[in-house]
């Protein structure tokens, strides 16, 4: 059976492209990394979870490079995903959660809501459940397809991808509407005990962008704090781009080798970029910038507001450094100071 929306990795092709993984110095810029590995029509994922360790500079760079027809998959979404939808970068979105109307009646993901209600900038089709009403659709743009999962199920997709098996069974969501509307999930009677089980199809994204606290030039990525699904994402993807807060010599990696979640053989590129997750936070480095995030969500409540925000904070900045200049280094350092009150990375 062919799974819709799932690109199976061609192993020969992967071997050919393995050149990147074999290099001893994988350091490149964010611009190069996005241009080299992410092509229009590709599927991709990013690391982290909701407001923490999600490399949002990558989201801005993808929009800046005007990538198109991408598929994005994540457990729980963040405000940056809303920007991807609003900037018409995505064709398909697989996820379990998005923080909608969470904060005192403010719409959490205004662009997604606009697409669903007004069909602007494009309609949305959530298979069998909801879609933008026909009379609201003004353009002939194909609808953005959204598929529902639970957090664990999305994680298991990466896990199956990493294990190089077509699916993984699980015992979540049995008897609910999730497998009813999500046609890619199969419910079977397992051949051993003859009881219902959910089969979760594998996912092998073309590129994953993972944020780590520390990496060396060869691409050993070390993570502190929660690890999210990084271990599995790094092994499921064709290409792995690490965004690191700090670039360290290999000796520094040996000192805390237990913290290495992504070994060099997984990694294709290392991008040294401080504050690459802003407004998201990084354990031991800087806290989530809730003031910026809430301000952004408020500004993006209307279509015009969203365009203005993009012009100012995404297209208006040449790269991440200009963005940091714009945010203000003083503020970024203040966020770092706050995190250091509660968590520090061993020196």
């Amino acid at each position: 059976m062919k799974i819709e929306g799932l690109k199976t990795v061609n192993y020969e092709e992967r071997l050919k492209e393995k050149g990147y993984k074999k290099r001893l110095n994988k350091v490149m810029t964010e611009k190069e990394a996005v241009a080299t590995f992410l092509r229009d029509g590709d599927s991709f994922a990013i690391g982290g979870f909701i407001q923490w360790r999600q490399p949002q500079s990558i989201v801005r760079e993808i929009i800046r490079q005007r990538k198109k027809k991408l598929s994005f998959i994540d457990e729980s979404a963040f405000f940056g995903m809303d920007q991807l939808v609003g900037a018409e970068v995505l064709d398909r979105l697989d996820l379990a959660y998005w923080p909608i109307r969470q904060v005192g009646g403010i719409v959490g993901l205004p662009s997604v809501e606009r697409c669903l209600k007004e069909g602007y900038p494009r309609p949305i089709d959530i298979g069998g459940v909801l879609k933008t009403p026909e009379d609201k659709i003004k353009s002939d743009k194909p609808p953005l397809k959204i598929v529902d999962w639970t957090n664990f199920e999305v994680s298991l997709r990466f896990m199956a991808g990493a294990l190089n098996v077509p699916f993984i069974p699980c015992r979540s969501s049995l008897g609910t509407d999730i497998p009813k509307y999500n046609k890619e999930i199969k419910v079977i009677d397992d051949p051993y005990e003859n009881k219902p089980l959910l089969l979760i199809p594998a996912y092998k994204p073309d590129v994953v962008f993972l944020s780590v606290q520390r990496a060396d030039r060869r691409g050993n990525g070390q993570i502190w704090g929660f690890r999210g699904t990084e271990y599995w994402k790094a092994r499921a993807a064709k290409h792995v781009v690490l965004l690191t807060e700090e670039l360290v010599p290999a000796e520094k990696i040996y000192e805390n080798a237990g913290m290495t979640v992504i070994p060099a053989y997984c990694t294709d590129a290392v991008v040294l970029l401080s504050y690459n997750c802003h407004p998201s936070g990084v354990y031991g480095c800087y806290i989530w910038d809730m003031l910026y995030d809430l301000r952004m969500v408020l500004a993006c409540q209307t279509g015009d507001g969203f365009s203005r925000w993009l012009d100012e904070w995404v297209y208006g900045c040449k790269d991440h450094f200009e963005y940091c200049d714009k945010v203000g280094w003083e503020k970024l350092e203040r966020l770092a100071k706050a995190e250091h009150v509660i968590n520090r990375i061993p020196a």
């Binding site: 923490w52 005192g104 199920e153 008897g175 999730i178 999210g228 203040r334 509660i342």
Partner: protein, 313 residues
């Protein structure tokens, strides 16, 4: 219902009147829900109310309970309420940092005794919708980890502010399994690991599920809820809600519980449920996005963290 009157006799009518106005809905929910935890239990907490209830239990009567946040923080002290299960203050003074799938694997393996969840729609048998409303077409938060937690955790405590519109005959979309069709072994037939919903804690009483029929019933009320109030609550349900033969009277929040709650949520971010009334909201409304605004916000948080860390060590 003679029993009700006997139980209330320890309060004078004046006291009841005063108590009625004294507590915020979230205070009633968090403190009542925290009492469902037994010492030593492993609690799966989410954000806001659920995180607060777990932290209160740990500070007040269950010091050996272990809190688990889905992003991968295990056995953390809980120095502050969380906005997301990945917040780094959830990792402070934690026993273990792991990954998201690992946490759910532990749950499917049966290590999680109890979990707190919220909901938007619930039916008679504790099935829950957090995904879609089809009347006016609305997309809600979606499952997140809720679908997994309700499938596999030992028991689920639902915590919500009482809203008559939340209870429906038929869900628009079933995100989280409760007792499914209510038949005696419905969950077992579906091969679900967890025990299903245990109770629904609201600011207008606690609802539990019949062990035989799995039907939701009113089990406990606050001392100031008179017959009239109880009737009103029952009428909010689109089916005829049963009530326990002897309604238990809930003790109002204690000083210690309220202290624990303020320690975890000093700014009242979740307690007052209006972000715009808290420091963050005030800064947003005044357009104070400069470094001074950041200092105001963060200095307050840092002081609260330091205080909590001192108390918890």
């Amino acid at each position: 219902m003679g029993h009700l009157y006997t139980a209330r006799e320890k309060y004078t009518p004046e006291q009841l009147e005063e108590m009625k106005e004294k507590y915020l809905p979230t205070e009633l929910i968090c403190c009542t829900a925290s009492r469902e935890i037994e010492d030593g239990e492993v609690i799966f907490v989410g954000i806001g109310i659920s995180d607060l209830a777990g932290a209160i239990a740990k500070l007040v009567h269950a010091p050996n309970a272990l809190m688990v946040a889905e992003a991968g923080y295990i056995g953390f002290a809980g120095i502050s309420t969380m906005f997301s299960p990945s917040d780094s203050w959830g990792g402070t003074m934690a026993m273990c940092h792991q990954g998201l799938p690992e946490t759910f694997i532990d749950e499917q393996a049966g290590f999680i005794d109890v979990a707190y969840l919220g909901f938007a729609q619930m039916d008679k048998f504790g099935n829950v919708n957090v995904s879609y409303i089809t009347g006016p077409k609305i997309r809600m938060n979606g499952s997140g980890g809720g679908g997994d937690i309700s499938s596999s955790a030992g028991r689920i405590i639902y915590t919500v502010e009482f809203n008559p519109r939340s209870y429906v005959k038929k869900l628009d979309y079933m995100t989280e399994p409760g007792f499914l069709d209510g038949s005696p072994d419905a969950r077992k037939k579906q091969n679900l690991v967890g025990g299903g919903p245990s109770c629904v804690v609201t600011n207008r009483g606690v609802f539990r599920f019949d062990t035989e029929t799995h039907e939701m019933y009113l089990a406990e009320v606050f001392p100031w809820q008179d017959e009239e109030d109880i009737e009103e609550v029952k009428k909010a349900f689109p089916w005829s809600l049963k009530a326990a033969k002897e309604l238990k009277i809930i003790e109002p929040p204690t000083e210690r519980e309220l202290w624990a709650m303020r320690l975890m949520d000093p700014d009242g971010m979740w307690t007052i449920a209006k972000i715009m009334d808290a420091t963050l909201g005030k800064l947003i409304l005044s357009g104070k996005y400069d470094i001074e605004g950041y200092n105001t916000l963060l200095e307050g948080r840092e002081a609260a963290w330091r205080k909590a860390m001192e108390i918890l060590t």
